[in-house]
C-alpha cells in the first residue's frame, strides 16, 4: 500500500492548485487541465528531461525547470506559458525537424506523429535552421518491426519502455552528441537480437515514425499508450 502523502499547494499560471508532494509540476498541471507540451515524457515511464519542451518558469529560480522532472513544493509559482517559453519551444521543434530526415508526407506516422502535431500546435510553419540531412540507415531485420533512424528524435521512450516495463533491455543508445543512435543489444541487427521478446512496446511508445510495425504504409501507424499507466497501476507503484 502506498503510504499517506501530503498535499502541497502551488500556483500555476495564476491558478491556485494542489498536488501530492511527490507529484511533478507536469502531473499537477495536467491534473488541473493545464497543457504543457511534452515529447520525451510518457505517463508510466520515468522522466528524463531530454526534449526540454516542458520547460517552465518558476518564480525565484534563476533557471528554467523541466516540468516533467521537477517535484512540486509548497508555495511554488509556476508559469507554463510566456512569450519566451513559446519562442524556445518553437526553436526546439525546428531543431528536431532539421536534425534528421523528416519527410512527413511519406512517413508511417503521418497524422499520428507527436512531433508533427506539436509543430502545428506551436505554430511552426517552416524551419529556419538549415536541415542537416544526415545519412542514417533503417533496420528492417526484425520480423515484425522496423526502426528508421531517419525519423528518430532520441527521446529514449522506447529504451525506457524496453527496460522499465518489458525488462528486456534490448534497446540502448550509443555514441554521443549528434551521432547518438538507438541500438539493439550491442549494436547488432534487431532481427538477431537474443533479448528482444517482440512485445512491441517500443512501437507503441515511439512518439514519431521511427519505430513502426512492419507492413504498414504512410499514415497507417497507430499507437497504443494506455497500457503503461495501467501496468504501473497494477503494480501498485507510481513510476
Amino acid at each position: 500500500m502506498a503510504t499517506e502523502r501530503r498535499v502541497k499547494t502551488l500556483i500555476i499560471d495564476g491558478r491556485d492548485v494542489a498536488g501530492r508532494e511527490d507529484q511533478t509540476i507536469l502531473e499537477a498541471a495536467r491534473e488541473h487541465g493545464i497543457w504543457i507540451p511534452t515529447l520525451c515524457h510518457l505517463e508510466g515511464l520515468t522522466n528524463v528531461g531530454a526534449c526540454r519542451l516542458c520547460l517552465v518558469e518558476v518564480k525565484g529560480m534563476g533557471k528554467l525547470l523541466s516540468a516533467c522532472t521537477t517535484t512540486i513544493w509548497e508555495g511554488m509559482e509556476v508559469t507554463t506559458h510566456s512569450e519566451r517559453l513559446h519562442r524556445y519551444r518553437r526553436s526546439i521543434i525546428e531543431l528536431f525537424l532539421a536534425e534528421r530526415n523528416h519527410i512527413c508526407a511519406v512517413c508511417v506516422a503521418n497524422r499520428r506523429c507527436q512531433l508533427q502535431a506539436l509543430a502545428l500546435e506551436l505554430g511552426v510553419d517552416h524551419v529556419r535552421y538549415p536541415y542537416l540531412y544526415p545519412r542514417f540507415g533503417i533496420d528492417a531485420t526484425h520480423d515484425l518491426f522496423v526502426l528508421d533512424h531517419n525519423r528518430c528524435i532520441l527521446c529514449t521512450r522506447c529504451i525506457r519502455a524496453c527496460s522499465e516495463i518489458e525488462g528486456a533491455n534490448t534497446l540502448g543508445m550509443m555514441r554521443r552528441g549528434i551521432h547518438n543512435r538507438v541500438i539493439t543489444d550491442l549494436n547488432q541487427p534487431w532481427g538477431e537480437s537474443p533479448t528482444c521478446t517482440s512485445c512491441g512496446k517500443c512501437v507503441n511508445v515511439c512518439p514519431v515514425g521511427a519505430i513502426s510495425q512492419k507492413g504498414l504504409s504512410v499514415i497507417e501507424g497507430r499507437k497504443e499508450h494506455k497500457f503503461l499507466p495501467y501496468l504501473t497501476m497494477m503494480r501498485g507503484a507510481r513510476p
Binding site: 528524463v48 528531461g49 531530454a50 526534449c51 526540454r52 520547460l55 533557471k63 528554467l64 525547470l65 523541466s66 522532472t69 521537477t70 517535484t71 524556445y88 526553436s91 526546439i92 531543431l95 528536431f96 532539421a98 536534425e99 529556419r128 535552421y129 538549415p130 542537416l132 528524435i153 532520441l154 540502448g172 543508445m173 555514441r175 554521443r176 552528441g177 549528434i178 551521432h179 547518438n180
Partner: protein, 545 residues
C-alpha cells in the same frame, strides 16, 4: 596508527633527509616526465655514485615545479632551478651544486618573476616531496590534520573551519564548500559518499593532474576529512583514464595509506572507517558534470540528469553524496592546519584563498601557477607569465575553457575572483588561462570552443545536441566569408536558447565563448560578415563560398 606512531615515522624521515648536504629534486610529473626527466634522474643517481657522493647528495623524485614548458626541471637545494636539463649534463650539474656559478641546463634563481608572484597553499609540497613515498608526506605533517580531526574534533567543528575559510569549489561553479558539506552532513542517515571529481576535461587544463601526480596524499587526507565531516564512509576518486601517471600514484598512495591504517577500518583507533576506490573516466568531457559522473560510476551511460535533486540529496546509488573537485579537496588540509580564519585572510572579499591556473598561450612562461585570488589578470600575465613574447600586442585572455569567455585588454586590471569574471562575461572555471595576442582571431577562437562543445555534447537534450551543431555551422559560415547579418541574429538566438534550455552546464555554457567575444569583439564578427575580411588574418575567407 596513533598520532605518536605517525610522529615517529615523520621524525625518522626528517632524520634520513637531514643527513644529506645537497638535495636535488627532479620533477617527475607529466610535463617533465614527457621530456624524459626519468633519464635525468637516473643519470643524476648514476653520476652521484660515480663521484662517490651518494651519502652526500640526495637525488629525489618530486612533483610539479610549475615551469612545465621548460622541463626537465631540477631544483637544487631550494635555491635555484635548472631548466631544460639533459641527462648528459648530470655530471656537471652535480659538480656545480652550491657553487656560485651553476651548471647543467639553464639555471633560474627562485626569485625569478615566475616564482615570485605566487603563493603556494595547494602546491606547497609540490616539488618538495616524493609523491610516491608516504613517509615524506608524513614528514611534512601529513595525516596529522586528519587524525586530529577524527580524534579531537566534532564533524560540525570541521565543517565550521571549512565554512569560515570561505573556500569555494574549484571545479568551476564556485559553490561554497562549507555550505555543501553541511548540506550533505544534514542529509538523512545511512550510507553516504564522498566523490572526488578528477575528470579534468577542459582542453589545456592540468591543475588537478598535477596535484594528483605531485601530492596524492594531500588529496586523500582531504577526502578522509571530508568523509568524517559529512558522515560518509566511502570515497570514490573519479579520474580520467588519460592520466596514467596520476592513477599509478593514487593507487600507490591508497595502498600505502591503507597499509599504515590511515585509510580503511577504524582509522586512528576511532570508530570512523573510510575506504577509497578509484574509478576511471573514459575520455568524455561531460562526465565531469556531477550527475553524469555519478551515472558513470554506477556503470551507466555517462549522461547528466536534471537537478534538483542535487547529489547532496540523491547522489551515488541514490544516497547523499559530497562531490568536490581535486583542488577543492587539496585545500582542506592546509585550512585545518592553519585555521579557517587564516585562509579567509588570503585572497579577495568573496573569493578566498589561492587558485591554481594553467597559464598557457602567448606568454613567455607557460606553466602551472598558484596565486592569491583577487590578483589582477595583468599581474598574472606580466608577473609569473613574463609578458607576451616577440613584442606582439596582447589581445585577450580566455578563462574557464569551453564554458568561459575572452576578456579584452581594457579589462586587464580586473581582479580574478568568481564574481568579477562572471561580470566580465567569463567564468573562473577550473583554472585554464589562455593568453592570446593579435595573431588570434576571436571568431575562430569561438568556433574552436563551439567545435569542442559540439563533439563533447552527450546528445541527451536537443538544445545542446543540435544547437551546438547549428551554432558551429553559423560560425563556420562566418570564418569562410559566406555569412550574412541574418546569420548573426540566428547565432545570438541559438546562444540564448542553448544557455537557457539545455539540461546541463555543458549546453548552458557552450554559448559563453561566442557571447563574450561578441561582447568585446563585435567589430571582428562584422568584418567577417560585412567585409568578408578576417582582421587577424587567420580565416581563409572565401574558402567555404
Amino acid at each position: 596508527m596513533t598520532r605518536d606512531e605517525l610522529k615517529k615515522i615523520g621524525e625518522a624521515e626528517q632524520e634520513r633527509i637531514r643527513k644529506y648536504r645537497h638535495q636535488v629534486h627532479v620533477c617527475m610529473a607529466s610535463g617533465c616526465h614527457a621530456l624524459r626527466s626519468d633519464k635525468v634522474r637516473t643519470g643524476l643517481q648514476a653520476e652521484a655514485k660515480k663521484q662517490g657522493r651518494e651519502g652526500e647528495v640526495l637525488v629525489k623524485r618530486v612533483g610539479c615545479l610549475g615551469l612545465c614548458s621548460r622541463g626537465p626541471l631540477v631544483l637544487e637545494d631550494q635555491s635555484r632551478i635548472h631548466t631544460g636539463v639533459a641527462p648528459e649534463e648530470a655530471g656537471t650539474l652535480l659538480r656545480s651544486l652550491g657553487e656560485p656559478e651553476a651548471a647543467g641546463g639553464e639555471p633560474l634563481p627562485l626569485d625569478h618573476p615566475f616564482f615570485k608572484g605566487q603563493r603556494k597553499i595547494v602546491m606547497e609540497h609540490s616539488g618538495a616531496i616524493d609523491p610516491e613515498r608516504i613517509e615524506e608526506y608524513i614528514a611534512v605533517g601529513g595525516y596529522e590534520q586528519m587524525l586530529a580531526a577524527i580524534i579531537d574534533m566534532a564533524p560540525e567543528a570541521v565543517i565550521d573551519q571549512v565554512t569560515r575559510s570561505g573556500l569555494r569549489g574549484r571545479g568551476g561553479a564556485g559553490y561554497p564548500t562549507g555550505l555543501k558539506w553541511s548540506t550533505v552532513a544534514k542529509a538523512g542517515g545511512g550510507d553516504k559518499y564522498v566523490i572526488c571529481n578528477a575528470d579534468e576535461g577542459d582542453p589545456g587544463a592540468f591543475m588537478d593532474r598535477s596535484v594528483m601526480e605531485s601530492t596524492p596524499h594531500q588529496l586523500i587526507e582531504g577526502m578522509i576529512i571530508a568523509g568524517y565531516a559529512v558522515g560518509a564512509n566511502h570515497g570514490v576518486i573519479y579520474v580520467r583514464a588519460e592520466y596514467p601517471l596520476a592513477i599509478a600514484r593514487l593507487e600507490k598512495a591508497i595502498g600505502q595509506a591503507e597499509k599504515m591504517g590511515l585509510l580503511g577500518r577504524n582509522i586512528g583507533a576511532t570508530r570512523f572507517s573510510f575506504d577509497l576506490q578509484l574509478r576511471y573516466g573514459a575520455g568524455a568531457f561531460v562526465t565531469g558534470e556531477e550527475t553524469a559522473l555519478i551515472a558513470s560510476v554506477e556503470g551507466r551511460r555517462g549522461t547528466p540528469r536534471s537537478r534538483p535533486p542535487y547529489p547532496a540529496e540523491r547522489g551515488l546509488w541514490g544516497r547523499p553524496t559530497l562531490i568536490n573537485n581535486v583542488e577543492t579537496l587539496a585545500n582542506v588540509v592546509p585550512i585545518l592546519k592553519n585555521g579557517g580564519d587564516w585562509y579567509a585572510g588570503i585572497g579577495a572579499e568573496k573569493s578566498r584563498g589561492t587558485k591554481v591556473f594553467a597559464l598557457v598561450g602567448r606568454v613567455n612562461n607557460v606553466g602551472l601557477i598558484e596565486v592569491p585570488l583577487g590578483i589582477t589578470l595583468r599581474e598574472i600575465i606580466e608577473g609569473p607569465g613574463g609578458g607576451i613574447p616577440g613584442g606582439r600586442k596582447f589581445k585577450a585572455v580566455q578563462t574557464g575553457g569551453p564554458s568561459g569567455g575572452c576578456i579584452p585588454e581594457a579589462s586587464l586590471d580586473l581582479p580574478v575572483d568568481y564574481e568579477s569574471l562572471v561580470q566580465a562575461g567569463s567564468i573562473m572555471g577550473s583554472g585554464g588561462m589562455i593568453v592570446m595576442d593579435e595573431t588570434s582571431c576571436m571568431v575562430d577562437v569561438a568556433k574552436y570552443f563551439m567545435q569542442f562543445c559540439m563533439s563533447e555534447s552527450c546528445g541527451k537534450c536537443i538544445p545542446c545536441r543540435v544547437g551546438t551543431v547549428q551554432m558551429h555551422h553559423l560560425l563556420e559560415k562566418m570564418t569562410t566569408g559566406s555569412a550574412t547579418g541574418r546569420d548573426l541574429e540566428m547565432l545570438e538566438e541559438l546562444c540564448d536558447l542553448a544557455r537557457h534550455a539545455s539540461l546541463c552546464g555543458l549546453g548552458q555554457s557552450a554559448p559563453n565563448p561566442v557571447l563574450s567575444t561578441l561582447r568585446y569583439f563585435r567589430d571582428e564578427y562584422l568584418a567577417h560578415i560585412d567585409e568578408k575580411r578576417c582582421p587577424a588574418g587567420v580565416c581563409t575567407m572565401g574558402a567555404g563560398g
